[in-house]
C-alpha cells in the first residue's frame, strides 16, 4: 500500500509568474481552503517534496533552476503546472525571451488552467496529481531492483 497520496508535500516555484497564480497557491493554505486537511504541506525544499508546483512561463534565466529543482526531488514525483503561463506560456508566449510552458524543460503530469488559476482548480489539480503519484509508485515497485529506490 502506498502512503504517498496521504501525505503530499509540495515545493512551489515561481518561474516568471506575474504573482497572480502564486497568491492563489498560497491561498490554498489559508483557513478558507486549508489543504493541510489532505496532508498537503508547502515544504519549500525539493529534497522533501513529492509534488512540484510551477507557476509562470519558462525563460532563459529560470530554465536551469526548474531543471535543478526537478532533479533534486526524490522519486516518485509529479509536476503540476499551475496557470496559463506555466501550461503554455500564456499571454507571454510570443515574447522574445519566453520559451513557453514548463513542459519545455521537464515532463508535466497535471495542467491547471486559469489566469490566475482559482484555488479550487489548484486543489483539484493537486488531488489529480496524487493519483499520478500512486501510479508512479506502483510502477517503480514493479521495476523493483532496477530502480534506485531502496
Amino acid at each position: 500500500m502506498s502512503y504517498l497520496p496521504k501525505s503530499p508535500w509540495l515545493v512551489h516555484y515561481d518561474a516568471s509568474s506575474c504573482n497572480g497564480c502564486d497568491i492563489e497557491v498560497l491561498a490554498c493554505l489559508t483557513p478558507l481552503y486549508d489543504v493541510e486537511r489532505f496532508g498537503v504541506l508547502n515544504i519549500g525544499n525539493p529534497k522533501h517534496a513529492d509534488i512540484f508546483v510551477v507557476t509562470g512561463s519558462v525563460n532563459e534565466q529560470n530554465r536551469s533552476v526548474i531543471q535543478n529543482i526537478y532533479n533534486q526531488m526524490a522519486e516518485p514525483k509529479v509536476v503540476v503546472a499551475v496557470g496559463a503561463c506555466a501550461s503554455s506560456g500564456g499571454i507571454f508566449r510570443e515574447c522574445y525571451n519566453v520559451q513557453g510552458g514548463v513542459d519545455n524543460v521537464i515532463p508535466v503530469d497535471v495542467y491547471v488552467s486559469g489566469c490566475a488559476a482559482r484555488p479550487e482548480a489548484i486543489i483539484d489539480g493537486v488531488v489529480q496529481a496524487l493519483g499520478v503519484l500512486e501510479q508512479k509508485y506502483e510502477e517503480s515497485k514493479k521495476k523493483g531492483a532496477e530502480t534506485s529506490h531502496v
Binding site: D34, R37, I43, G44, K47, H48, Q72, A74, T147, V150
Partner: protein
C-alpha cells in the same frame, strides 16, 4: 515487584514511544490548526508522513550522512531506555546530548550551506538548553539524594514543591527541545524562506523519517522528565503533562521565531536565575530544617 521489571519498561518504551510520540504530534497539529481557524489534517497524519517518507527514493549528498542519522536515532533510543529503565539520569542526558550532536554532525557532513546554517543554530540551541537541563537534574539530586530515575520517581511528596523554579525553567527550555516557536530556529517548518529546512535540508526519504521518529522518542522521554516532577501523584502528573504540552502549543502559536541571540540570552538568563535561586533555597532548607 520483580527485579526484572525494568526490562519490561524498556521494551514498552522502545515499542510504544513512537506511537505515543506520533499521536502527540498528530493531536498537536490538529489543535494548532484549530487555533488558526482551520480544520487540520487527520489525527494519524504524522504516521502517514513517516510511512510515505519510507517509500520514497533514497537520495543523499554523501553516504556518511546516513550513518550519523542512524547513530542519532539509536542513541536517542539508548537515552530513553536508560531513563525508563530507571537508570542514572545524568547518563541518560549525556546519551541524549550525544544523539543531538550526531544529528548536527549529520547536517555538517553534507557541506550544504542551508544545512550548515541549521547545524550552527542547532548547536546554539543545544548550548542554550544544556545548562538548565543539568541544573534541573542537580536540583533533583539535592532534593532526593539520588541521580537514579527509580529513586527520584519513588520520592515521597511532590518534587515540584521543592523545585518550583527548576520546573518553570525546564518548561521554558522544553520549548527548544520539542522544537516550538519562538525557539525553533534550526529546522523550523515555517522558515523555508530563510533557511529552507535548516538542519534537515539535505535529508530525504528514510533519513528524514528517522529524524522524525527520533524526535518522537525524544519527546516521550522529555515528557517523562516532566512527569518526574509530579511522580508521587500520577493523576496530577498526567494532567500536568497535558497542560504543559497544551501550553507549549499555545506558545508555539502566539509567537514568531526569535533571533538566535535572544534564544541564547533568554534561556541562559532563565537557567542562571532560576537555577541558582532554587539551589539556594534548597540549600537554605537543608541547613535550617
Amino acid at each position: 515487584m520483580s527485579d526484572y521489571l525494568w526490562i519490561l519498561f524498556v521494551v514498552l518504551y522502545i515499542v510504544l514511544a513512537p506511537f505515543i510520540g506520533g499521536m502527540i504530534a498528530g493531536i498537536d497539529r490538529k489543535i494548532t490548526a484549530r487555533m488558526q481557524g482551520r480544520y487540520g489534517p487527520p489525527l494519524l497524519q504524522p504516521f502517514y508522513d513517516v510511512l510515505k517518507l519510507m517509500q520514497k527514493e533514497n537520495i543523499v549528498v554523501n553516504k556518511h550522512q546516513k550513518l550519523y542519522v542512524l547513530c542519532s536515532l539509536i542513541f536517542i533510543i539508548v537515552a530513553g531506555a536508560i531513563f525508563f529503565a530507571g537508570g542514572d539520569l545524568l547518563l541518560s542526558i549525556f546519551a541524549l546530548a550525544l544523539a543531538s550532536i550526531f544529528l548536527v554532525i549529520a547536517a555538517y557532513s553534507t557541506y550544504s550551506p542551508y544545512a550548515y546554517l541549521g547545524a550552527e543554530r542547532e548547536l546554539i540551541q543545544i548550548m542554550a538548553y544544556e545548562p538548565m537541563v543539568i541544573l534541573t537534574i542537580v536540583g533533583m539530586y539535592i532534593a532526593t539524594g539520588s541521580f537514579s530515575v527509580t529513586d527520584i520517581g519513588a520520592y515521597e511528596g511532590l518534587l515540584v514543591l521543592k523545585l518550583p523554579a527548576m520546573f518553570v525553567g525546564f518548561v521554558y527550555i522544553l520549548t527548544i527541545k520539542i522544537r516550538k516557536s519562538p525557539f525553533d530556529i534550526s529546522m523550523s517548518h515555517h522558515a523555508h524562506q530563510e533557511i529552507v529546512r535548516g538542519l534537515t535540508t539535505e535529508f530525504s526519504g528514510k533519513e528524514l523519517a528517522y529524524i522524525e521518529i527520533s524526535h518522537w522518542y525524544e519527546n516521550v522521554m522529555l515528557l517523562g522528565l516532566v512527569y518526574l516532577f509530579f511522580a508521587s501523584n500520577p493523576i496530577l502528573a498526567v494532567l500536568v503533562l497535558v497542560a504543559t504540552y497544551f501550553l507549549e502549543i499555545l506558545i508555539d502559536n502566539v509567537n514568531s521565531r526569535l533571533k538566535w541571540q535572544s534564544v541564547l540570552f533568554s534561556t541562559w538568563l532563565v537557567a542562571f536565575v532560576l537555577g541558582i535561586a532554587n539551589i539556594a533555597v534548597l540549600g537554605f532548607l537543608k541547613y535550617f530544617l
